[in-house]
Structures are given as structure tokens and as C-alpha cells.
């Protein structure tokens, strides 16, 4: 009893310390408050964890929790005494003389003066050990009210303005209408507005002209194409399996279309999550929800693994890593071999996640490459009918053969030998009748007719629809074990499915699978939890992605990593407010787009001003709209649109753009797995290009189309000479320039001016017309080119203008 109360007092004492740590202590004087998460934790993890981490704890010291770090050491001293630098052994050791033998860390460079100073100030300030923002529940926040300014009624503006005012900055004025319509078109549809669309918007005097435009674009089927691309990057969508054969995955395009269609139909995001993770286990299983489970079939797959168990573990790891990043913004993959070094994710959480996926079969095996991944949409009735007809046909075929053999046996030896070769059919047609009597021949003819009828009946059955999906599961999967140091050959403890501990939610209860179940029912539980409004990361992660693709970067820049090594949010309250708003609006993205795009924040101009540039050069506070380069797909699609040939047909199987021989020559079988598409197909939007992992379209790659083997949270935006080479020399761009030349020539007496109107959607300036006219003249007079050739060169210039490639 006495012991128990002592223990209780101890725990209370610890609690008090912890709570003290929670309420961020005020700073005295001019000392800057040290940020534990940003400055201390990574330092400890990097330089101290090797010996004083959760698994090591040398000398009785562990830096993985505040309790452990403040505990008495084996030596009797204390590493950290909050507020008392002199009593803190940590400071003494990191500042010890190199020769003293006391210096920490014992290996590598000593800590820098700046690092030591940060540690000192942190201890002085009370050794705060705050929990990471993303691992705390969403805050219930209200938009701030501004004292000084009136800037829009949109709550987003209130959040943005509050931060700007605190920094004594002004938001930029709105961009002009021509800029805005271009911004909106590319943002929502990935395509440029036509000149007519620009003019109509500019002239629209209605007070809600902008709102009308946003509505119209959200209703466009091209919206789904553009926004699907963002999700496809995150889930590393491709249509082949990589490795030696890099073979095509049948029906992968249906998953791509599923994403496009879901967005176009404004399917609630929570439903979108549920369908991809457990579309085969929902209360209402639909064709759509089955196709959604194609999610499990998108990764790379080794069809000839040297170590099959390792390959299977790698396949699962790819799934866990992608799922963690895509839906939760967590780098769960880092806990595969050991506890996560930074985030509070123990190794067992990783394997608990693997246990949720225990019924997920491998993509395939070498003998059967489709059984696990191709779902057949047929009714039991259809299947039975098909089987019955197949069996009847086989029976009749056997009868037919035996009748033929009666005749063959009467033939010469040479002909009998022929009957065993590929010439059998010809032989039978030529001679069989001669060797059968009339009643035999009659019967034979009737048999052939019967066979023909059965075959016709079989062909009349509806064709089976198939989809890339989680077609086969293991309803009673074996136990999941921790793999010691990530090694699939060294199994540790058994792990049951549970949610990562950092969420501090109860253990899931998983209903036992029925005896005839086709899956284990675990993924449904996981999906419901991820898609729950109570999940503190799901809504934050998706609103951040939406924000990212409106503004060019997320409120949290590291969109796949909300953990402690990710970037902190620039506007944390806004992020939480938006997340809650999404949940309150049925998880639908279109209302969120509408909310964001009708803010003043979205409509600001991208112009610079020296004061703001000085104060906030990276625009973290959003005093302007960030200019951006077109994405790889947008460059290609806009060029096709300018050429007047863009085929805007929505949905369907992928197409193969023409690749040069040089590019195909990089394959071990040049041309293998690459098809021919008609010119009309080749003029389709880039989202429909066949994604072969080992053979990416070079124009897109030059403009930072990502490697598609692992999740891509944000594309690079590089500027490099290969882009200029592709834009000026590629067959594709020269073809578009030629088409553009033809187009403007046909449409107008002034093709130079017309080219500017078509490509940039505005009237040309005097200087542009002069530049174009001059170039065309010079090419004709000094270079002996025809007027047509010269105009083509000018059109190539226009397609290379920065104004074409960048959005204000």
C-alpha cells in the first residue's frame, strides 16, 4: 500500500513535469524560444540516439522521452535538469575537452557552438518536450477577425490576412481578369482557355462573373483529368510492373479512369478512401469500388525474385509506405527495420499495419500473372452458362475427331503421317469424304453443324468485363510477425492488426471472417478508421494536397510527411479549419475548390514588391500568388491545344505516343511493350499516355514528370537545357508549330498577330507583331526560306515564350 502510494506520487510528479513541459514556458529577456521539435529532437536523434536511443540506453540514458531523459543516470548524476544548466551533465559532456575522454559524442565531429548554445538555452528555458503538432487532435479554431483591414469575406482571407498584418505586410491587389482566367483554367482543367472564353469572361459584367467561371470549370470533365494526375502521382500509378520484363498490367487504365470519374462526380473523399482500401469489403460493393482496389496493384512487382520471401516483404513494404504517406502523411516505412528514429512509430506499428494487409495477395506469380489481379465481372449464371457451353463444345470436338480418325485410318501411311501435322485440316478437306461412307459422312456433317451452333451460342454470351483489382485474397491469412531488423527470414513476435500508437485510439475489433469469406475483413476496419472524421491526419492531409495544387505548395510543404521531419505548417490554424470544413461539407472536394478559389487570397496578383520581397522572399505568408511553370502534361496538352488538334475525348484505354528510335533503342527488346496509336489517339491528353515504367516519354521527363516507382508528393520544377532542346528540336514540338502555322494562316490575313491570339489568348503588342514580321522577313530574305517555313519558325518561337510556359 505504501509502495503503491509512493509509485503514485512518482507518477504524479512525472505528470507534473510533463504538463509543465506542455505549457510552453515564456521566455525571459531577448532569448528566442527554442523549438524542441525543430531544433532539439533532430539533434538528439542524430547525434545521441546511436548510444542513447530507445534500444540502446547506454549509461542509463535514453533520449526518446522526457521521462527517460530526466531520469537519474547509472552514475548518479542527471543528464538534464530543467532550468539548471550547471547541473545538467549533458552540457558538461558536449562541451568537454577532446582530450578529457569525457567528450560527447565520442565519435564524429563535436557539436558546433550553435548546437551547444541551442541545447543550453533549451535547458535554461525548462527543457520543454512538446508533442509534435500533427500528432495532436485538430484544433477547433474560428477565423480571426482583423482590426485594421477589410479584405474579403472568405474565412481563408481572414487567416491569411492575420498573419500578414502581424508581419506588417499587405496582400497583393487582385490579378486582372486575363490572368485570372488563365490561372483558373490551367488550375482546374490543365488546359488553356480559348480566346473566345477569355473575351467572354473579360466582358462579363455580372458581379459574380468569377463565381460563374469557377462553377463552369468544376463542371468540366477535364477537371477530373487534371486533378486525377495529382492523385496518380501520390499512389505511383503506372501500367507496368518494372523489373526485367516490365510487362503491361491489364486494365490498369480503369483505375486511372476511376480516379478521374470519382473527381468528376465529386465523390466524397472518405468514400474514395474506403473504396481504394476496401472496395471489395464494403456494405455496398459496386463495379466502381472493385476497380478502386486496383490501388493494391499499382506498385512494382518482381516476377522472378531471387528471394521470394524478401520480394513479398518488399511488395508489402511498398504498400505500407505508400498508404502511410498517401492517406496519413506518415512515413511508416521508416519503422520497417527498427523503431522510427524521429516519429513515435515503434516497429510493431509497422507490422500491425502489415497485419491489416495480411489478406492482400502478391500481384501475381510467374505461372499465373492474372489470377490475383484481374477481377471478372460476371454473374454466377453467366459463368455457369459459359462453362456448360464450353464443356458441350469439347464433347462434340472429341466426337468429331473420332469420326475423322475412322477415315484417316483408311488412308495411306503418308497421309496418316500428314494428319499428325499442321496439314491435317487441308488433308481432311481434300480427302476425308472419299474415305467415309455416305451415312458416316452425313453424321460427320451433322456433328460439324452442331459444333458450329454451340460455338455461336458461346460467342453470343456477353463478354466478360475485367478490371485490375484485388481479385484474390487470403481470407484466413497466417499470423503476421515482426521481422527482426526487417529481415523476412528472422521472425519475431506475432503482431495483431492495430492502429499506430501515436493516434492513441482503442485497439480495433475485427469481426471474424465467415467460413466462406473471400477476404479477411481487416482492410475494411482500417479503411473505416482512416476515413473517419475522428482521424486527426486524414482530413488535414487531403486539404493540404488540395491547397498545394491551388497555390503551388501545401500549407505543409512536405505533403507526404506530416511527421517531425516534415515541414511545419505555414498556417496551422487555417489547415485545421479547412480540414474541419471539409468534414462538415461531406468530404467533397468541389465545395472546397470553390471556397479556395473565391477567396481574395487565390485571386491576388503575382507581382513582386520590394518591401514584401525583403520581408518574406519565399512568400510563406502568402502576400502574393506564386507564379508557376506549366507541368509536363500541361506543356504537352497546351501545345496540342494551340495547334488546334487536341483530342479532348475523356476516359478509355491508354495510347502510345510515337517515340524516336533512339529512345526505343534503350530497351533490351527495342519497341517491346510499346504500341502504335492513330494520330487522333496521339493527340489525346497526356494523362492518357501509357505509363511504362522503363520507357517514359522524354518530353514529359524533361519537364519533371516523376519517377513512378514510389509516391511523389510534389514535382520538381527544374529549369535545364534538355527542356529547351525538347521544345525546339523534338519532332512533337515541330509538328505542333507546323500545325499552328497552318491554323493561323487559314484563319487570318495577319498570321503573326493571330498566333499570339491563339497561343496567349490576348491581342498582340506592337512589338510582338514587329518581332514576328521581322523574323519571317529575315528568314525569307537572308536564309532563303519560304514564307510557310518562316512562319513555322515564328510559331515555334511563340510556343517557347515564357508567357506560354508560365502562369502569373
Amino acid at each position: 500500500m505504501k509502495l503503491a502510494s509512493a509509485a503514485a506520487r512518482f507518477i504524479l510528479c512525472l505528470l507534473a513535469i510533463t504538463l509543465a513541459g506542455w505549457s510552453a514556458p515564456r521566455v525571459s529577456g531577448a532569448e528566442v524560444q527554442v523549438d524542441f521539435v525543430r531544433e532539439i529532437k533532430p539533434l538528439l536523434a542524430r547525434r545521441c540516439f546511436a548510444c542513447h536511443g530507445p534500444e540502446t540506453g547506454e549509461g542509463g540514458l535514453r533520449f526518446d522521452s522526457r521521462e527517460a531523459a530526466l531520469a537519474e543516470l547509472d552514475s548518479g548524476s542527471y543528464a538534464i535538469v530543467p532550468g539548471d544548466v550547471d547541473a545538467s551533465e549533458l552540457l558538461a559532456r558536449v562541451t568537454a575537452d577532446e582530450d578529457s575522454g569525457m567528450q560527447m559524442p565520442p565519435e564524429g565531429d563535436p557539436l558546433t557552438t550553435a548546437e551547444i548554445d541551442t541545447l543550453r538555452r533549451w535547458i535554461e528555458q525548462g527543457a520543454d518536450w512538446r508533442k509534435h503538432w500533427a500528432f495532436l487532435p485538430m484544433q477547433d479554431v474560428a477565423p480571426p477577425t482583423s482590426q485594421q483591414n477589410q479584405w474579403g469575406e472568405n474565412p481563408i482571407d481572414a487567416f491569411v490576412l492575420a498573419r500578414l498584418e502581424a508581419a506588417d505586410l499587405q496582400p497583393n491587389p487582385p490579378a486582372d481578369r486575363r490572368t485570372l482566367i488563365r490561372r483558373a483554367y490551367f488550375n482546374l482543367t490543365g488546359l488553356p482557355p480559348t480566346r473566345q472564353q477569355v473575351e467572354a469572361f473579360v466582358r462579363n459584367e455580372s458581379p459574380d462573373a468569377w463565381e460563374q467561371l469557377v462553377e463552369q470549370l468544376l463542371a468540366s470533365p477535364h477537371y477530373g483529368e487534371q486533378w486525377a494526375r495529382h492523385w496518380l502521382d501520390v499512389v505511383r500509378f503506372a501500367e507496368t510492373n518494372s523489373f526485367e520484363r516490365d510487362a503491361a498490367k491489364p486494365n490498369a487504365w480503369k483505375y486511372r479512369d476511376y480516379v478521374i470519374r470519382s473527381l468528376n462526380n465529386d465523390k466524397p473523399y472518405d468514400q474514395f478512401v474506403r473504396e481504394q482500401l476496401a472496395g471489395d469489403e464494403l456494405d455496398e460493393v459496386t463495379e466502381d469500388s472493385i476497380i478502386a482496389t486496383g490501388y493494391y496493384r499499382l506498385g512494382i512487382w518482381d516476377d522472378e525474385p531471387a528471394d521470394p520471401e524478401q520480394a513479398l516483404a518488399d511488395e508489402k513494404d511498398d504498400l505500407i509506405s505508400t498508404t502511410g504517406q498517401a492517406f496519413l502523411g506518415l512515413t511508416l516505412g521508416c519503422a520497417r527495420c527498427h523503431d522510427h528514429k524521429i516519429d513515435p512509430i515503434p516497429q510493431t506499428d509497422y507490422y500491425a499495419m502489415m497485419a491489416f494487409f495480411a489478406d492482400v495477395t502478391s500481384y501475381g506469380d510467374r505461372g499465373d500473372q492474372t489470377g490475383n489481379n484481374q477481377w471478372l465481372f460476371d454473374t454466377d449464371e453467366d459463368r455457369r452458362a459459359r462453362q456448360a457451353l464450353d464443356e458441350r463444345a469439347q464433347r462434340i470436338e472429341r466426337e468429331r475427331t473420332s469420326m475423322e480418325e475412322v477415315g484417316v485410318k483408311r488412308m495411306s501411311a503418308t497421309d496418316q503421317r500428314r494428319s499428325e501435322t499442321g496439314e491435317r485440316q487441308a488433308l481432311l478437306e481434300e480427302k476425308l469424304q472419299r474415305y467415309l461412307n455416305s451415312s458416316e459422312w452425313q453424321l460427320y456433317q451433322e456433328t460439324l453443324a452442331r459444333l458450329e451452333r454451340v460455338r455461336r451460342e458461346r460467342n453470343a454470351l456477353p463478354a466478360v468485363q475485367t478490371a485490375l483489382a484485388l481479385a484474390r485474397c487470403e481470407p484466413t491469412p497466417p499470423a503476421t510477425h515482426v521481422m527482426v531488423r526487417g529481415n523476412p527470414h528472422v521472425l519475431g513476435d506475432v503482431v495483431e492488426p492495430h492502429f499506430p500508437h501515436l493516434f492513441e485510439v482503442p485497439e480495433p475489433s475485427i469481426p471474424a471472417a465467415a467460413s466462406d469469406a473471400r477476404s479477411a475483413g481487416r482492410r475494411r476496419v482500417l479503411a473505416d478508421w482512416i476515413a473517419s472524421p475522428d482521424n486527426m491526419l486524414t482530413a488535414r492531409v487531403i486539404v493540404n494536397r488540395v491547397w498545394q495544387h491551388h497555390f503551388g505548395r501545401g500549407i505543409v510543404r512536405s505533403a507526404n510527411n506530416f511527421g517531425e521531419l516534415g515541414d511545419p505548417p505555414t498556417h496551422p490554424e487555417l489547415l485545421d479549419w479547412l480540414a474541419q470544413w471539409l468534414i462538415d461539407h461531406n468530404w467533397q472536394l468541389k465545395p472546397l475548390h470553390r471556397l479556395i478559389m473565391t477567396s481574395q487570397t487565390y485571386r491576388m496578383s503575382s507581382a513582386g514588391n520590394s518591401r514584401a520581397l525583403e520581408a518574406d522572399p519565399t512568400n510563406d505568408l502568402l502576400w502574393r500568388f506564386d507564379m508557376r511553370r506549366l507541368s509536363a502534361e500541361e506543356v504537352r496538352d497546351a501545345a496540342l491545344a494551340a495547334a488546334g488538334v487536341l483530342n479532348d475525348r475523356v476516359y478509355g484505354p491508354s495510347f502510345y505516343p510515337t517515340l524516336s528510335e533512339e529512345v526505343l533503342a534503350t530497351q533490351s527488346h527495342p519497341g517491346d511493350g510499346w504500341g502504335d496509336s492513330s494520330p487522333e489517339e496521339e493527340a489525346r491528353r497526356s494523362v492518357y499516355i501509357h505509363r511504362k515504367r522503363s520507357l517514359l516519354e522524354p518530353l514529359l521527363t524533361a519537364f519533371d514528370f516523376p519517377d513512378i516507382d514510389s509516391s511523389c508528393e510534389a514535382r520538381f520544377a527544374t529549369t535545364q537545357p534538355q527542356q529547351a532542346l525538347a521544345m525546339l528540336n523534338s519532332a512533337f514540338m515541330n509538328q505542333q508549330a507546323e500545325r499552328l502555322a497552318l491554323r493561323v494562316q487559314t484563319a487570318s490575313d495577319d498570321p503573326v498577330a493571330e498566333s499570339i491570339r491563339v497561343v496567349l489568348g490576348r491581342e498582340p503588342t506592337y512589338e510582338e507583331v514587329a518581332a514576328g514580321t521581322q523574323l519571317i522577313d529575315r528568314l525569307q530574305t537572308h536564309y532563303d526560306r519560304t514564307a510557310d517555313e518562316a512562319l513555322r519558325q515564328w510559331c515555334l518561337v511563340v510556343l517557347n515564350l515564357n508567357e506560354f510556359m508560365y502562369l502569373d
Partner: protein, 485 residues
């Protein structure tokens, strides 16, 4: 990111990644910076600053090597028929032995010995045993360090190729050449820093995955260079366009782009983009010049075997490798063998025919390359690496014939130049050559050695991705092979 290997700067990833997101880098990054300054695009100073961070830079150490030429013997040459002399196999042809093997044919515990089909003899001052497949290369052994106890994780081409090139069995990770350019930048802005030259028969299995930059920007990816025609994709001017005409087009474009930029003077990307067109224009001149061998002496061409049918292709690529090294290209990979079956070193059927062919095609050119580099004083700063994705088994694959299956349990690679000691041999396989038994060396140790010779810290050079400081050698500490330096 002053130095990617500096842990303090790199751990908090932001500096690096932010830079990578926002500016051009790698190939051409340095040049952009210089041109921005030279062209007086003054307000672009910020871009220039960030670009300069990827200018050629020092590694963590003073590296002996400045460039790497990786001679990739695709398909997997047999070590016991080339450089790993096994007297125990001599006279034992057809004898059944107990030996554990793992190849494309799976795991086996027994096999029929295929006696090496070539005689071995000692060469050089070091007395290295080399088979008669390499009459020319055997004269260079005093410059070569042999690694006889290499091991890889996979005996299957696709994954083993990726492991040799990127340190991982799966695709999606940056190739070694990408890492080297990420770590050291590229001194010649007019050429790519990572060049790949393929065999005339085609690319290797998995094609471009072998020189992909994975999660790094595509600017770090290997550029396929062709000896004939247009060396780089989209490099040559379209039909009916010549350089003066293109100049007119560029002038017109720049005039309009500058006007656009003048209205947005703080947008450094626009300035960088204007500069990139000039850089591309220069590359169009310099890259063809790099592959133009008309100025090479007849004796040089003859030494490389460019004048003979059997050695012409590989000789040409070796010669180009030297020319690229002279021009500051960091990492050059030359493939011997392409496509499938006997188009490369994958001798499953007729070992004799296969290896005779590929050795004949490469022996003289490689020896010429080593000697040429040495004579020009370039060998000291050029690390030449030779080897395949694995070796071959000492026993036969089928009931009849000389074909050998894959062997990742033990095989030979070699390195020369770039501060590597010559005339040494490290590690050993067992007496049959079936597995490494003395100082086994994982492929990652070779990677660590290459980085270390270039002055990079293999355990420090990292790139933040997916929540981790990713490294070429992986998360576990990997030691370079100290015995050969």
C-alpha cells in the same frame, strides 16, 4: 546545401530539398548561374545563388579520382574463366561435385564441373594469373586491383543490374552516376555529368531504369550518348534548320522573353529559363564535338581497335569515354553486351562461343583505354571499374554443354586508376570458385569505394526522401575497400 555530405546542413533536409524544388540543378545548374551573372540578368541574383550551390564543389575529402568509367560487362562474365584462377577445376571436366549454387535455375546442391576453357598464365610484375581470353588486358595487371570476393544479393539479371547500378534490388532509386553528380556537381556545363553508352545490340534488361535518377530530379539521370548520329536525344537541329537560322529564332525568342521578364524582375526562374536556351545552343555545338574523333591519331584509333570490325564498336565507346573524361564528365558507363541471350555475357548455352566473342570485342579496347589514360596522365584521376552484375557458376547449367548459370555468391570485379593500387588482389572464392570465402565484399562496398575515391563520404552523402536520409550504400555503415587504395 553547401555540401550534401555535411550532416548538420543535410539532416534538416529543408535546405537541400527546397533548393531542389525551386531551381534548376545538376546538369547545367552551374552554367545557368554563370550565365545569369554574365548576361547581366541582375535581378536574378537569387537564382544565381541557389544555382551556385550545385556548381562543381569539393567532396568531404580530397578525392584522388575526378571521374569514373564503369565498364559494365552485362550478363555476368564467368570469373573462373577470366581472372579467378582455379587450378582445382583443371582436368575435372564432367566430374560431379557437391556445391551449393543459386541461379536462374534455382537452388542446387550438386553440379557437373565445367573445366575452364581457357589456359591461365601469370602476367606482370605482380604475377597475376589471367586467362588467355585477355591477351591485351593481361599486360595491364600491374595497374589493376582485382576484387575476387564480390557478392550480390540476386542472381537474376533485372534485380542484380539494379543492385549494381543503384544499390537496391528494386527500381526507383538513383543510380550511382546520379549520386556522384549530386555530390560533386558537374564541371562541364556543356555536357551531361552522367553519360551512358549502350551496346550496339541494344539496352540492358530494364533499360532506362539502370540509369534513372529515381527520387532525385531527372537532371541527375544518366544521358544516353550515341557514338553516331545525334549523340543526345533532341540534340540535333530539325531538318531544314541550321545554326545561323536557329540563332535568329533564339534572338527573336530572347527579345520577347526579356520583355516579359522585365515586367517580373523578381522572378528568377524566368531569367534561368532564358539562359537555358543559350546553354542548349552551346551544348549542340560541344556534344557533337565530343564524339567527333576525326582529330584522333591513326595510331590511337588502331590501338583502341576502331579500325577492326570485331573491336570497332566497343573500341569507339572506350575512346569516347576517354574524350568525355578529358572534358570533365563525372561518370561514364559503357556497356559491353546488350539485349538478351548471347548478345551479352550471359553464357547459358555455349560458354566458349559466348565468352570468346565478348572478350575479343572488349580486351584490346579496354587495355588501350587504360594505357591511353595512363600515358595522358589521366589514369590517376580516373577510376576505371570493370565487372558484370554477377559472375557464373563453376558447374554446368544443363545435362550437356558448357553453359554456366548465374552466380551472385562470389565473383570478380576489378578497378584501376583513381588512386587505386595496381597489381593487388583482394579476397578469394573457394577452390571451385562457387562462393566468396575470404573477405566477402558486398556490391555496396564497391559503391563505397567509388564514392570515397571521388572524395565523397559514402556514409555521409545523403538525400532526404520518404522521411529518411537516403544513401547509395543504405542505412547501415559500409566501409570502402581499404586494401586497394
Amino acid at each position: 546545401m553547401s555540401k550534401p555530405s555535411s550532416s548538420a546542413a543535410s539532416f534538416c533536409r529543408r535546405t537541400r530539398r527546397e533548393f531542389l524544388w525551386e531551381s534548376g540543378c545538376g546538369f547545367g545548374g552551374a552554367a545557368l548561374a554563370a550565365m545569369l551573372a554574365a548576361d547581366g540578368l541582375a535581378p536574378a541574383a537569387r537564382a544565381a545563388d541557389s544555382s551556385r550551390a550545385l556548381a562543381p564543389r569539393a567532396g568531404a575529402y580530397n578525392g584522388k579520382a575526378k571521374s569514373v568509367i564503369f565498364l559494365f560487362m552485362y550478363g555476368g562474365p564467368s570469373h573462373v574463366d577470366t581472372f579467378d584462377y582455379k587450378p582445382a577445376l583443371v582436368g575435372k571436366d564432367g566430374v560431379m561435385v557437391d556445391v551449393k549454387t543459386h541461379g536462374r535455375g534455382g537452388h542446387r546442391n550438386q553440379g557437373r564441373i565445367v573445366e575452364p576453357r581457357w589456359k591461365f598464365a601469370q602476367h606482370g610484375e605482380c604475377g597475376k594469373w589471367v586467362s588467355s581470353l585477355f591477351p591485351h588486358l593481361s599486360t595491364c595487371v600491374d595497374d589493376i586491383a582485382f576484387l575476387h570476393s564480390m557478392t550480390a544479393e540476386s542472381p537474376i539479371h533485372g534485380s542484380a543490374m539494379l543492385m549494381m547500378n543503384s544499390g537496391k534490388l528494386q527500381s526507383g532509386y538513383p543510380a550511382m552516376g546520379s549520386w556522384v553528380n549530386y555530390g560533386l556537381g558537374s564541371p562541364n556545363e556543356n555536357l551531361p555529368g552522367f553519360v551512358v553508352m549502350l551496346d550496339r545490340t541494344g539496352g540492358p534488361i530494364s533499360g532506362a531504369k539502370n540509369w534513372s535518377s529515381g527520387y532525385m530530379p531527372a537532371t541527375y539521370a544518366g544521358t544516353v550518348f550515341r557514338p553516331e548520329g545525334s549523340p543526345i536525344n533532341d540534340l540535333s537541329l530539325p531538318e531544314n534548320v541550321d545554326r545561323p537560322l536557329r540563332r535568329e529564332v533564339l534572338d527573336s525568342l530572347e527579345q520577347l522573353n526579356r520583355r516579359h521578364f522585365d515586367a517580373r524582375p523578381d522572378q528568377s526562374d524566368l531569367a534561368a529559363r532564358i539562359a537555358s536556351y543559350e546553354l542548349a545552343f552551346r551544348m549542340q555545338q560541344h556534344a557533337p564535338e565530343a564524339v567527333d574523333i576525326s582529330g584522333e591519331a591513326a595510331t590511337t584509333l588502331s590501338a583502341y581497335g576502331v579500325d577492326r570490325a570485331e573491336t570497332r564498336d566497343f573500341g569507339m565507346r572506350c575512346l569516347l569515354a576517354r574524350r568525355l573524361v578529358e572534358r570533365g564528365v563525372r561518370f561514364i558507363q559503357v556497356y559491353s553486351g546488350g539485349a538478351h541471350n548471347d548478345d551479352n555475357w550471359d553464357a547459358h548455352g555455349d560458354l566458349e562461343a559466348n565468352h570468346s566473342k565478348h572478350a575479343l570485342e572488349t580486351d584490346q579496347p579496354i587495355a588501350a583505354l587504360l594505357k591511353d589514360l595512363k600515358q595522358r596522365g589521366l589514369l590517376e584521376e580516373t577510376l576505371v571499374v570493370w565487372g558484370g552484375e554477377f559472375g557464373r557458376q563453376p558447374t554446368a547449367e544443363y545435362e550437356v554443354g558448357t553453359g554456366r548459370d548465374h552466380n551472385s555468391y562470389g565473383f570478380t570485379m576489378w578497378a584501376a586508376g583513381g588512386g587505386v593500387k595496381g597489381g593487388v588482389s583482394v579476397g578469394a572464392t573457394d577452390e571451385l570458385g562457387s562462393a566468396a570465402v575470404e573477405s566477402p565484399m558486398h556490391v555496396k562496398r564497391l559503391h563505397a569505394t567509388i564514392l570515397r575515391q571521388l572524395g565523397l563520404d559514402p556514409n555521409g552523402l545523403s538525400y532526404f526522401y520518404r522521411g529518411l536520409d537516403q544513401k547509395l550504400v543504405g542505412v547501415e555503415h559500409v566501409e570502402p575497400i581499404h586494401e586497394i587504395v
